[in-house]
Structure formats: C-alpha cells, structure tokens
Symmetry: C2
C-alpha cells in the first residue's frame, strides 16, 4: 500500500479512511500517543496506539528516533493541539533506535544548544529548528529560480575551478592534482604548474560575475546560483568558506535598472516564503520569541520574524547616495557621541555594519540602497562616474544585518577599464577574454551579488550562518 | 524609453506602434536590412534602415557584432522569412565592432568549427548554436527544480569541499590553502594537514549522495543539483573534470519506486523543453539535418532531434534484470559475430556503451532500465539482494549514449553495510556519520544520480560535452 505524506493528511478533508504513514517517532506518551514526523512538515501526526492489540515487542520498540510505519484510520482528534489523528490498526518497526544510544545524540527529546547540533550536523535536520530552516531554504532557492525564469533570465553555470582571480580580491583556495609531498619544480625552483591537471595554477572561484558578464552580453539577461569560496580565516557568525551566491547580470541595464531589479527580486522571494512556508515561519517566529524571553530587553529582536520580512516586502527601498549618507552619519547622534566603534570622519570612509544598520533602523526606518560609492573602496570593474571619484556601485542595506546585496553598473568603456586595471596592477593578459567583451559591441550593463546564506539567515531569523547550510565549511572545520 | 525584448516583439499582436530594441548586429544587407539579435530568442528582428535619413557615420558603424539601439515602428513585413519588422526612425551605436577585428573572431558571419568556438568560449554564446544550447540548458535546469519542488522534494546543497571520499571511487582534486612550494611536514615527514585551512586533508566532492542520504532520512525527500568533480585524465567527448549533477534521495522508497521516480522525472523535464523551447529545438534539429548531409548515411542520426526526445517521453521504459540482459547480449548477433569490441562471455561482465545501446536501439527499441547488477561491479552502499550476489542497482539506458542515470536502493542494514565496508577497506571512522543514519531509525531508501551535461547533450543533439557547458574544464584546460 502506497504511503501518504503527513503534510497531506494534516490538511485533507477525506477523514474516516485508511491511510499508511511512515516516519520517525518524535515522542511516545502513555504507551498510547505517538508523535510521528516524516519531514514533509514541521507538524507531527498523532497516532493513537491500540495498545491492547499491539504486540508487546512492537510497543517496546516505539522509541524516540525509530522509523515506523503506521496503518490506520484518519479521524477528527478529540485531544487538543491537532485537528486530526490516526487510529492505528497496524504498526511496523522499520528501523530501531536504541534509547541508550539516542540519549547520547541530539535526537533525544530535550533542548540542545545550536553548538551541540552543529557537532551532529548529520542528525540535526531531524530537529524542528533545522527541518524548518532547511525547508525554508529550499523554498527560497526555488523562488530565486522562478523569479528569474519568469522574467526571461537564463541560468548560467559559471566555472567553479578557475584560472583567474575574478575580483582581484579575497584569498582563494588552491585546486591541484599534485602530490603535495613532492610538487614538481621547474629550473628556477618555482612550482611547475604545467604539470598539474589543468596545466596552470587553478583556484576555487570567488565570484562568477566576470563570466556571467560575457554571457549577459550575448543572452541579454542571465543569473548564476552556485557555490563560491573564500579562504579567509574569519571565524565569525557571518562568514563561511563555502557559500552559495546569486549573481544576475543584465545587458542594456544601468544602475537605476539594477536597483529596480534587486528590489523587485528580493520582495518576490520573501513574499514567496511568506505565502508558502506558513507552518515553518510560525515555528521559527515562536522560537525567537521563546529565546528572547531569557534575554534582557535590549538584546531582544525589535520585530517579530514575519514583521521583519514584511518590513522589506511592504516598504519602498530608500535610495540614498553615499555622499548623502556620509553627511547623515557624520551628523548623527551616535557619531557625535562616539557611540559608533568606527567614527565617521570624512567622505571616503568605508561603512561598517553599525553605520548601515543605523541608516536603516534609526534614520530612514526602511530598507536602504546606497549608491555612487568612492571609486577607491570598490572593485575595478565598476563604472566610473563623470566626477571621476565615484563609481556606479550600490549596496542594499537590511535591518539587523546591514549589507545584503552588492552590485554595480559595469565599466563598459574599454579604455577606462584598461586604465583602471593598469592602476591596480591587474594583468590585461589574464583577463583578455573579459576585455574582449568591451571590444565587440560593448554596452551599458549591470548586475549584483547576493550571498544566499545571508538571505536564509534573514528569512529564518537564525543568527549564525553555520545554522542555515547543511554542512558548513569554516576554518578548521570540514567534517562530514 | 524602456526597451523591448525581441522575443516579445516577434510574437506581439500590437503592430503599428513604436518600440525601442537593443541588441547586437548579426548582419547588415544592402545598407538597408539589419538582422538584430538580443539573446532573448534564436530569431533576429529585421530592422529596416531609412538610409537617406541616417547619418553616414552611423551607417558606417552598423557592423556585425556592434551593439545598437533601434527605435521605430513595428510593421507587418513585406519580405520573406519574417512576420514583422521594425521600420527604424532612430539608430544609436552603443558599442562599436571593428570589422577587421571581428574578422579574427567567431563573431564573423561564416561557419566556424566547434573547436574554434571553444577557443573563444567567451564569445560563442553570441552564435546561434550556443545561444540555443544555453537557453535549452537553462530551461532544462528550471524543469529539474520545478519537478522536484512540485513533488514535495527539498533542495539540499551538499558540501563541495569534502573531507571524505564519498564513493571510494574516482580521483579527486585536492583543495588546499598551503603554499605549494613549501608544504609543512610533521615529524614523520608527512604533510601536516592540521596546519591547512580546514585542519585536515580536503578534496572536491565527487558526489553529494551520502550527505543527501542523511537529509532524506529527516526531510523525507531531497535532491541536490550542484557541481561535482573528477580528476580523471579522460580527454573524451563525454567527460568533464567539472560537471553538474542531480541526485534525488527518497526515504521509504524501494528500487521500484526509484525507477518510477527516475522515469517520471526524465519524461517531465524533456516534455518541458518540448513545450517551452520550440524555436531553439527547431534550430538545433535543422542544424543536425544540415550537418548530416555531408556525412555518409551510416553516420547520420537515425532520428530527428524531437523524434529522439519523444522516443523517451512517449515510450514506457522497459525494465530488465542484468541477468536477463546478459542472456540477450550473449545470444545477440553482434556478440556471436564478434562485432562488439567487448565480447560478452559470462555473467558478471561490466556492460559497455555498445551493449547498452544495442539493448535500447536494436533489441527493445525503447528506453531500458537494467536492475539487479552483480554486487562486485557496484558501489558499497547498494542494497544486497537475498541471492547475496546481486545488488538493488539500476541504470537507465538511452539511445545514442547508453547509461544516463545510475541509481540504487541503499543498504539500510547496519551490519551488512559495515561488513561490505570492511571487505572493501573503507574506514568506518571516516564515515561514522553515515553509519549513524543506520543506527537511529534506519529505513528503506533509494536515489539516483544524473549527470546534467549528459542530459543537455541528449536534449540538444550536440555531440561533445564541452559544447553544452559555458566554460568546460578538462585536462590541460581551465581557460576563462
């Protein structure tokens, strides 16, 4: 007999019929009530055991963590907390779970710290918090694809192993097929990369942008959504060595169009989970409320989870030039009273998260897009403005986290791009193919990058980025 | 003024209105007719130039490869080959293309070999063939996500950098942050991986399956769709060092369910492009017909492209046991007449592409699923049958290419799995987390892997796998 998903049965109107469900025991009370979860929803299905007609050996194996199959009749529940329940006629033990062994794991039914859950990352998806986060993550990722596909974008898989350092920024992981004990050297005593698998030095990509640009300048509108890497020794709650990035790139689109796209895109994907992840958002919202109860008021979340999401989807993003923002920040109370860790002294300063959050949370009270940043704090490929000191860059700032999107109009003028590369010592020969795109029908084009885990962090209300990706990669950690 | 996509204008019923389009010149005939392409479709928009009222300097810059903007009235076309055309009122040159320079590139309007296009992979998406392939690739990838999401699967991003060799098979690329000239050694003269970024030896993943299993055993149904890597020195038209893989994994699902899923999935995604990529499939189908004209009859494609796709979507996949297949092959004409390169002598032989194609193309004349393979030619995690010599593996075989999907029911019994690992010398300590899933509520579960580029190859009728991914990675090649 085909088995049914618990998500389906909890919603069905077809009661008083027989169904089979399969899942894992989350709780077993009074030798009578099984809370069964199969991962299709955060909610458990209550299975009522007919303990007089259930063999003793079966009863003894209905332990937390065990996989079981339950066949029975779906009925209106008389108890509190659920609309329906299944009156079990037949229970099969599919996979046992030894209670003594379970006690040592995070499957045991008590509160475990998030740190503890990370150590058992292979089991944590069987907890409420992680199953909720991972379902929301999955839905969010689909919303990303759906948005772009519905708007005529083509998905492009840019290379993961790359021979070029895309942004000239960030430490990169090396990829090699060499025996590390004995790397071949040439006559000068340098590594002989010609003997490596690719015949050259290769790294893991930090961004697919440059390759995405070459594709936008042919297909018109493209987006990437793939893994990117940073070999930075940052052991913080906001950095991963391996994370997923979304990078749309659009031909014939200027910075204004780029801001329109980014705002529309973000609103779409957050609305998508507001509409499609009700139960999981409920759980995650309550989780934060419960957590906050043990915290001093000043550390509590100022907005409930859904409120925070609607703060984004229901507000217009305020567009402010960097220059204007610096003025606001210079004259702000926390700057004057030296409450900022980094005091803003003059134009040209790189903004920190505290400044970005001040603009969003205190000053404008809405999501903010800053644009036209000083050229010397931004990447070489951003389009130089007429003032010759700012570039057509934009960052989108969110409450709680600061920058969530970074983008720009790209420098489409060959000579200006070459000059900038020369100034920064970027070898033209390395990027001959990128420069080619400016020689054959170059045009105004723009794009942005969004770190997917930052978005999941925001959408789920989690606070450590290690808790929104199945198996996080961080310094000294590549377990599983 | 907002510009419009050419794909949209070619279909619109709103004629006799003014539109602006932006794109790249594909041809300019008689100082009069521009063929403009913007990547939104394989088809060009004909723009009719009012050459008397167009400045000479503009006319001179309307060269193949240039980016231009055209404003004008959309009208019914009097010429052949197109329904509508734009009568240009204003033409702007956005980005020039020097005809002498263009001549040296694949943008020049003549036939270029696919090898030549590969050398200029940054420009090839501006050719008809590649733009068609890449649009189909994008649509196929969306169909993958849509299929799984509509069927209650959760997308899981398994790690790219891994500390474990998932299948115990295939050479892996090393990932390191060491200075390769001077790798730190410990007292025994061995590499001291504790000093590397992750504190251990790390590689690029060859498969996300084992991690996906841990997630299926919590969320119920999951799928991966991400890059995987092989450091094999295979310079063939079917191998890439970096390719994208789709790996669904389902709890409470046996091999029959797995076959049902795979067949349903493949039919869905191919139907999706049959329904959504009409123009591109037209082009690709004709491309093959043209190519075949210069080939001897024996080398021509036996089916047209769409026919081949419908051969999959409209046939039931024939399910045949390995044992049965061996009997058929042993008694087949090509085997008896020694036409196969590898003669099938006895049960236990590993099938080659020629055998797989024989079964599909000559014997059954439909897609074939082989199952219950000899245990010793398959991976350690596949479920052992009662006969103790075969495992619950399945391969799906397609015309033209042989195996396209490989999957199995997984060994869910802890002791059997441990024994198999011991026999093969796979360290239990390395996979402690994988074994854990068999200790706490293990259950019947299954999954399969599909190399995405193989699917794109099949769907587009291309013959070299380097031509269905933007920037192929192969031995001695990591350009761009």
């Amino acid at each position: 007999m085909k088995h049914h998903k618990i998500a389906e049965l909890l919603k069905t109107e077809h009661l008083l019929q027989d169904y089979t469900v399969k899942g894992w025991v989350r709780a077993f009370r009074s030798n009578r009530f099984i809370s069964l979860n199969d991962g299709s929803t955060i909610n458990n299905l209550q299975c009522v055991v007919d303990f007089e007609n259930t063999p003793e050996e079966v009863l003894q194996q209905i332990n937390v963590g065990a996989a079981i199959s339950v066949k029975g009749t779906l009925k209106e529940s008389e108890g509190k907390g659920q609309r329906v329940e299944i009156e079990a006629q037949e229970i099969k033990i599919l996979g046992e779970a030894n209670p003594e062994e379970v006690k040592k794991t995070i499957l045991s039914p008590k509160r475990h710290t998030l740190e503890k859950l990370r150590e058992q990352a292979h089991l944590r998806v069987r907890t409420n918090t992680f199953s909720a986060v991972m379902r929301v993550r999955s839905k969010l990722s689909f919303a990303v694809h759906q948005y772009f596909q519905q708007n005529g974008f083509n998905y492009v898989n840019t290379p993961i192993i790359t021979g070029s350092d895309a942004e000239g920024a960030g430490e990169m992981f090396k990829v090699t097929n060499f025996n590390l004990k004995d790397t071949p050297k040439n006559e000068d005593g340098e590594i002989d990369f010609k003997k490596d698998f690719f015949g050259k030095e290769t790294n893991l990509t930090v961004s697919g942008q440059l390759e995405a640009e070459t594709y936008a300048l042919g297909l018109g509108q493209v987006y990437t959504f793939g893994p990117t890497f940073r070999a930075e020794n940052s052991n913080t709650s906001r950095h991963l060595a391996e994370f997923w990035m979304i990078e749309p790139e659009v031909a014939f689109c200027d910075l204004d169009g780029n801001m329109d796209l980014a705002e529309d895109f973000i609103k779409y994907v957050l609305n998508y989970i507001l509409e499609n992840c009700d139960d999981d958002l409920d759980f995650l919202e309550n989780r934060i409320i419960q957590e906050d109860k043990s915290k001093p008021e000043s550390e509590r979340q100022p907005m409930k989870l859904r409120e925070k999401l609607k703060f984004i989807t229901e507000n217009n993003f305020k567009r402010v030039s960097y220059t204007e923002a610096i003025d606001i920040l210079k004259n702000s109370k926390p700057n004057k009273k030296k409450k900022f860790n980094y005091i803003i002294k003059e134009w040209g300063a790189d903004l920190q998260s505290e400044h970005e959050r001040f603009l969003v949370e205190k000053h404008f009270k809405c999501p903010v897009i800053l644009f036209d940043y000083p050229a010397n704090i931004k990447a070489f490929y951003m389009r130089l403005n007429e003032d010759e000191k700012t570039v057509r860059a934009m960052d989108i700032l969110f409450p709680g986290i600061g920058e969530i999107v970074g983008g720009s109009q790209r420098e489409e003028r060959l000579e200006v791009l070459q000059q900038k590369m020369n100034e920064l010592g970027i070898d033209e020969k390395e990027l001959w193919w990128y420069l080619d795109t400016r020689k054959f029908g170059t045009c105004v084009h723009s794009g942005f990058g969004l770190g997917f885990e930052r978005l999941v962090l925001f959408a789920t209300g989690m606070t450590n980025i290690r808790d929104v990706i199945p198996y996080p990669r961080t310094p000294q950690n590549a377990e599983f």
